[in-house]
């Protein structure tokens, strides 16, 4: 805690607008501006704006970049065509997870062919991991986290709002499909817009030069008064992602949790060829998993938080990794890990919440799915 916290380009704006600031992954970030539940509902019902400039943005280039990234992550990313994005895990040789990332194959015409967006807490670790695995490949990268800003615009009216202020280099924002990116003109500069997010809603994430962050944020808020855009902090970001059943690094993902255990097999492509951790993951698949990620719905209003024990048949079978009161569902929900024998939806378990044995049941993920998806 003695090290100075990093500040996003929107730090002063957050403070001036009543945000409660907290230390998160080495950054000073807004946890909330008003009530977390109000910010959560604003995102589910209209639009939420999130400063996610703390996320690591690493730009890569060079003839071996595609092969290099394919070797470092679990998903098939070497074959991405320009403008496409894929979710992937960076795994260690033991099959544990170093990070979960988005790999962008950037639109043609820029200085870099790829972008990796990684978790703030893992920025240095991933930069070191790239260096350690370079092995003479013709690839170069630059960490532009501090020179750029990233803003997520999420919610049923997000596209309508952003479409008013961005001009894509080709096509319209409404036509930009899920997990695609495009360069754009926005607030007088060049930006990158992608149809991605971490809330379970439709929306985009925008990357612009750091010095344009405040102007973009203000423009979104001003344009958003008609549609009801609200600034949202990390508190709502967490409740939204939990309802959407999305893992958070440090909770559902860690160096000793594999993507298979976290039930992210959709992002693990064994048939693409060699990648770090492939052998360990294949062995794990062959031998069978000892624990898997599940969703839990708890009775009552006590929140099971990280570390709470999950019990069944008179013994502890696992632990909760995240839990909250879900504002949309009006229920206490959690995610955790249990042996596969207990992972079937409907399985009754007990969660120990500060000395209270709370009845719970396993439910399918995600907890919340927006209409039309």
């Amino acid at each position: 805690m003695s090290e100075a916290l990093l500040r996003t380009p929107l730090n002063a704006w957050h403070r001036e607008h009543g945000a409660r600031m907290v230390a998160f992954a080495g950054w000073e970030m807004p946890i909330q501006y008003r009530s977390i539940v109000e910010e959560h509902q604003a995102t589910r019902q209209a639009v939420g704006l999130f400063d996610i400039s703390h996320m690591a943005r690493i730009f890569l280039s060079g003839p071996d970049t595609a092969a290099f990234l394919d070797y470092l992550v679990t998903n098939s990313v070497g074959n991405l065509s320009p403008g496409r994005i894929r979710y992937a895990l960076v795994t260690n040789p033991q099959g544990g997870t170093k990070d979960d990332v988005l790999v962008y194959r950037l639109p043609d015409g820029g200085d870099h062919s790829h972008l990796v967006v990684a978790n703030a807490a893992n920025r240095q670790k991933i930069l070191e991991w790239l260096e350690r695995n370079r092995a003479g490949r013709r690839v170069a990268w630059v960490d532009r986290t501090l020179q750029t800003a990233m803003i997520a615009v999420q919610g049923p009216r997000a596209i309508e709002l952003v479409a008013r202020i961005v001009a894509l280099s080709s096509g319209s924002l409404a036509e930009l499909r899920y997990y695609r990116a495009a360069t754009c003109r926005v607030v007088g500069t060049e930006g990158l817009v992608s149809r991605t997010g971490y809330t379970g809603e439709d929306g985009v994430e925008l990357i612009v030069p750091a010095e344009k962050a405040v102007e973009l944020w203000r423009t979104l808020l001003e344009g958003g008064t008609a549609v009801g855009a609200s600034p949202c902090g990390l508190g709502a970001r967490d409740t939204l992602r939990l309802e959407a059943g999305l893992p958070l690094y440090g909770h559902e993902l860690a160096e000793d949790i594999s993507p298979l255990e976290a039930r992210l097999e959709f992002a693990v492509k064994f048939d693409k060829g060699e990648f770090v951790g492939r052998d360990a993951l294949l062995a794990q698949q062959r031998q069978g998993l000892t624990r898997v990620r599940v969703g839990l719905e708890l009775e009552g209003r006590r929140i099971a938080r990280e570390g709470a024990e999950i019990q069944a048949d008179g013994r502890t079978i696992g632990k909760v990794t995240s839990g909250t009161f879900a504002p949309t569902l009006q229920k206490v929900i959690a995610m955790g890990f249990v042996p596969p024998a207990y992972a079937e939806p409907g399985t009754a378990v007990t969660v120990l919440v500060r000395g209270h044995a709370v009845p719970a049941r396993v439910v399918a993920l995600p907890f919340y799915r927006r209409a039309g998806r």
Binding site: Q32, R34, G235, R301, R302, T324
Partner: protein, 132 residues
């Protein structure tokens, strides 16, 4: 049970943001509007049963928000004489009216009990940085 809001200036306060009001041998206990504002998004409150002994400076219950769970600390020692069932049914009452309908417990205290060890309103305002 219906309860007109106390004037916070007439109350005494703990460092852990409980308020206390003494009348006869009964001390009414709740949490301050500052505490409510800090917690935001209350989801649950856990209160002791009538007849429970509470000890000054020790937890008597807990209050949970989306963000965190906090112990409720007894500002006095005594026996729980009454529990506000309404706030257990609907915790938002505490945020709406922390000094009135949002009271939590009434504690029967031994003869001679005072609230002199607790902060006055002005002292509490200083602690939370609001000025006197």
């Amino acid at each position: 049970m219906s309860q007109a809001a106390y004037d916070p200036r007439q109350l005494r306060f703990s460092e852990s943001h409980e308020w206390a009001h003494l009348e006869g041998d009964i001390v009414t206990v709740g949490i301050t509007d500052f505490a409510v504002d800090q917690l935001t998004d209350l989801v649950h409150v856990e209160l002791p049963a009538v007849g429970t002994e509470v000890v000054q400076g020790e937890p008597f219950g807990e209050i949970e928000s989306v963000k965190t769970v906090s112990d409720l600390i007894a500002p006095v020692s005594g026996t729980v004489a009454e529990v506000n069932q309404a706030v257990q049914q609907d915790v938002t009452i505490i945020s709406q009216d922390p000094y009135g309908q949002g009271w939590m417990i009434k504690v029967r205290v031994p003869e001679g009990t005072t609230l002199d060890h607790l902060m006055t309103y002005d002292e509490y305002q200083q602690q939370i940085g609001g000025g006197a």
